[in-house]
Symmetry: C2
Subunit: 244 residues, 2 copies
């Protein structure tokens, strides 16, 4: 048997948002590797070994997955959302690049519904015009880079999807991000806080940026800042197709 | 029977990328409304009326869908990819906002795998770091706005996903976009041309920006410009998680 590595996105949480392609891959997997809360979404069965691991173990996890695949297993690395958006795919390629012994391994990536798409769908169409996605975690990039990108995104009048707005290790990062956007003149923009979309913990809240407070977000929240044309209609928030 | 309107994303093309949520909605629909090539992806059955329409008919199509739903039908508006990303959701809300008589209608949006996620998964992980998505169509926004956003996106060192790079009505827009990015110093960046991903017409090509030519893209192509750290490893292209 030839081993192979599949890097799959499980979508935001609900089983009805897992693509059939991903379900098929999981059905033939011998091993599932991932962050424990995502691995917990996979039903145990005979012939399948689950390998849950802690947060921030991305590189070790990628190495484990590549090693298992090289031994002839069919390994599925699972991420929430889409594996290529602030998830496991880049970490796997970092290890893969540094490890020529695995260069001939069969690898496939299976896309998924990333958090910003699920969040946008719940509230309307805030990503219906040009937008950007910024990971607010500064574990892997200097904070000044994040500040610069926020300022340029505001100047470009992009809607802004913010991933990982808050974590225990960066208590004030999101606070500072909100300040930067207010300084850039965006106080009246609509801000959507979408928490744990499609799970039992789902909560969606929309406020103008001037009323946004850091504690409205936690580790499970995706934040979308509207562009200059983003507006409410009834219970919905959307960006018109026309530029503002 | 109470009418309702569901705005659903069919993913990039292959049936294995349609979410179960969308399949369920289609199974109970009485009417499917959309651009003809997308409606053609829905299997005909008794009790289901298909309403295909031409390109650039977004507002008329949205009005037709809202009208049918208000008459008690269960209408599914279909888009390729995700309905909220440069697709039908914003057009529906534009009509909805202008039409108070439909304000009480039940509306739901079902996310899908948008083109840039499918394209990224085929080639590796070019969206693994901060990125933006720009619709190059200038039907609904002035070209100078697009130029400004391209320049700011380059300055922010975002990976850039370009939707609708070319259409018959804008022969030189994409050519100009490539020039702007070269002027911004991005000539060595990797550019991925991903055409018709997950269909029989799929074709993926990666070149440095200095070698990119407009005719490498057509109406079915999604283009991803890498950031300053994006690199090749074997047959793959990926953005490391670390900033460049």
């Amino acid at each position: 048997m030839t081993g192979r590595l599949t890097i799959a996105g499980l979508g935001p949480g609900d089983a009805s948002l897992v693509t059939p392609e991903v379900s098929t891959a999981l059905a033939s997997a011998t091993d599932v590797v991932g962050y424990a809360p995502y691995v917990a979404r996979i039903a145990p069965r005979d012939g399948l070994t689950l390998h849950p691991s802690d947060n921030r173990m991305e590189l070790q996890r990628a190495r484990e997955a590549l090693q298992l695949a090289s031994e002839g297993r069919h390994v599925v690395v699972v991420s929430s959302g889409d594996p290529g958006v602030f998830a496991m795919a880049s970490a796997v390629f970092e290890v893969f690049e540094a490890s020529p012994q695995w260069r001939d391994l069969t690898i496939a990536l299976l896309p998924g519904v990333t958090a910003m798409l699920a969040a946008a769908a719940r509230i309307g169409a805030p990503l219906g015009h040009d937008f950007c996605a910024i990971n607010l975690s500064d574990n892997l990039k200097p904070w000044p880079v994040i500040e610069k990108r926020l300022r340029l995104a505001a100047e470009a009048d992009f809607a802004i999807a913010i991933y990982n707005p808050r974590s225990a290790s960066r208590a004030d990062g999101f606070q500072r991000a909100l300040e930067i956007l207010r300084e850039a003149g965006l106080s009246e923009r609509l801000v959507v806080f979408a928490r744990a979309v499609s799970t039992v913990d789902e909560k969606i809240e929309t406020v103008p940026l001037r009323e946004a407070r850091p504690e409205m977000a936690d580790m499970r929240t995706l934040v979308i800042i509207g562009n200059s044309s983003t507006r409410r209609v009834g219970r919905w928030v959307y960006a018109p197709r026309q530029a503002g």
